[in-house]
Amino acid sequence: MVERKEHRIGLYVVLVLLSVFALVPLIWTLVSSLQSDQQIFENLMPFSWRAFVPVRPTLSAYRALFVEKGFGRVLVNSFVVSFATLIAGVLINGMCGFAFAVFGFRGKSLLFFLVLVSFMIPFEAIAIPLYQVANRLRLVDTYWALILPSVSNGLAIFLFRQFFMGIPKDYVDAGRIDGASWWTVFAKIYMPLAKPVTISAALILFLFQWESFLWPLIAARDPRLTVIQVAIAQLNQENLMMWSQMFAASVLAVVVPVVLILPLQQYYVSGVTGAGLKE
């Protein structure tokens, strides 16, 4: 498209203004996490540019989180739960997507419809009744309560199915003639071809767990099981004037998604948008 020069300048002015709106909370958070509470408030009353530039940075807020608030354990909990979900989730959702793509069987369209229904309903909608289910299964206040409900993921099943349907049937036939079992066809032929969709599904599963809040809040009230999002909420409820710790905790919670999503952005985008754009 041909654009006039003044249009281009106008465009960039708008883009820069919107970027300020997007970035100010992030920059303020990062800078404030490196300050003492006193510095943070000094820079706000009255407002000073130092709110956005770390003058005399200190790691004291981070130290307090790890030493006093047990954030070491909190981060380990979140990593354990997220990784366990990722590993189990890639395996079983991959298997399920494989079955939908490769086999013909009775009840296929009904079962696939159930998969679609399950991912059109956001997890929050069922958190309250799910608590009753978890309670009856005696899962409440265990790691299992945090992990199990999120392993099966309709979107991940959908993504694997879409990808596997694009693999020519010749691959299956060749393997089967050589006497390979279905498991071998899945594990040795299909999964190695599915790297991009595996990355997308793994990201979705991992981030879903890393960012989940309502479910761990109600299903794991044992302080030994506290995960990162719940820990931040607790800081927020506890001491209203310890802002630097809230900022530092937020940075810790955001660093992990940033490190994962930004380099793998294309996989993340094609994963989450996969359901909306393809039939």
Binding site: V24, L44, I92, F98, A99, L114, A125, I126, L235
Partner: protein, 292 residues
């Protein structure tokens, strides 16, 4: 031996399906059925044990409960405001960055940055930004001579503050969907319309919008159902207040389940929310489909 392995063969699709589908069944679909059943029961204080069938009692109680209607109204108002705001913001961002160039890629990444912040963290951070006494926003407003605003502590501004803070994150998230949709529109279509002398608005109305309809329908529907279930900002920042102004149904359900211990009533509210989602989503589908 061969017979057994052949039988196993016939069974293998189900073996591959079983683990994931069992998970969906137990942890996604069964709870919905469970909510429906529980909404016709009362569970007392202990939770398990003394379950009693009460028929429509929970629903009758809701209909007569002014708090429920207040919450219902708050939810509808919230839905009417937040969805158009978020979708327009996402659409504008997507249209702005839907062009080539290194600089544009930088802006795309910047708009995408808030997506890496979870709703929980976003709520905590914006709670500090909007703090009436020492928040960043009032501090910056003071610099340009505007008096401090109450934001989340005022029943007039609380809901708008929540709309703003959720849009900060949601705009970038839905932008990537719309952008993916826009990139499927072939550029030759735009070239033709420019030659025909269409202006920007006409191009959008007659070319971009119809081709984007499928993507937009998905975004509208998915965003609406997500926002009906939004809970974290209310839980962390307003507790449904001030003066019940942000006491949406999702928060009301949570309060009933985990503060008052009334699971039956909570499940009845969850059923109402799910019905509202179905109804609204159905309406949106019809609107976006029929308008050809």
């Amino acid at each position: 031996m061969q017979n057994i392995s052949r039988k196993l063969e016939a069974f293998s699709p189900y073996l591959f399906l079983a683990p994931a589908l069992a998970g969906l069944l137990v942890f996604r679909l069964f709870p919905i059925a469970n909510a429906l059943v529980s909404s016709f029961q009362t569970t007392g204080f202990s939770g398990i044990g003394n379950v009693r069938w009460v028929g429509l009692e929970n629903y009758k109680f809701l209909v007569q409960d002014p708090t429920f209607w207040q919450s219902f109204k708050a939810t509808l108002l919230f839905t009417l405001v937040i969805n158009p705001v978020q979708i327009c913001a996402a659409l504008i961002l997507a249209l702005l960055v839907n062009r080539d160039g290194k600089a544009i890629n930088v802006f795309r990444t910047i708009f995408f940055m808030p997506v890496t912040v979870s709703t929980t963290v976003a709520s905590v951070l914006w709670g500090l930004m909007l703090n009436p006494n020492s928040g960043l926003i009032n501090s910056m407003l003071a610099m340009v001579g505007i008096s401090p605003q109450p934001f989340l502590t005022s029943s007039r501004q609380a809901m708008w503050s929540i709309v703003a803070l959720t849009t900060w994150r949601a705009a970038g998230y839905w932008m990537i969907f719309i952008l993916a949709g826009l990139q499927q529109v072939p550029t030759s279509v735009y070239e033709a319309s420019t030659i025909d002398g269409a202006n920007g608005l006409q191009t959008f109305r007659y070319i971009t919008f119809p081709l984007l309809k499928r993507t937009l329908t998905f975004v509208v529907v998915a965003d609406t159902s997500a926002n009906f279930l939004l809970f974290v900002p209310m839980y962390l920042l307003t507790k449904g207040g001030p003066a019940m102004s942000t006491n949406v149904l999702m928060y009301e359900a949570f309060r009933n389940a985990f503060i008052y211990g009334d699971r039956g009533k909570a499940c009845a509210i969850v059923v109402v929310i799910l019905l509202l989602v179905l109804l609204t989503v159905g309406l949106e589908f019809r609107l976006l489909r029929s308008e050809q």
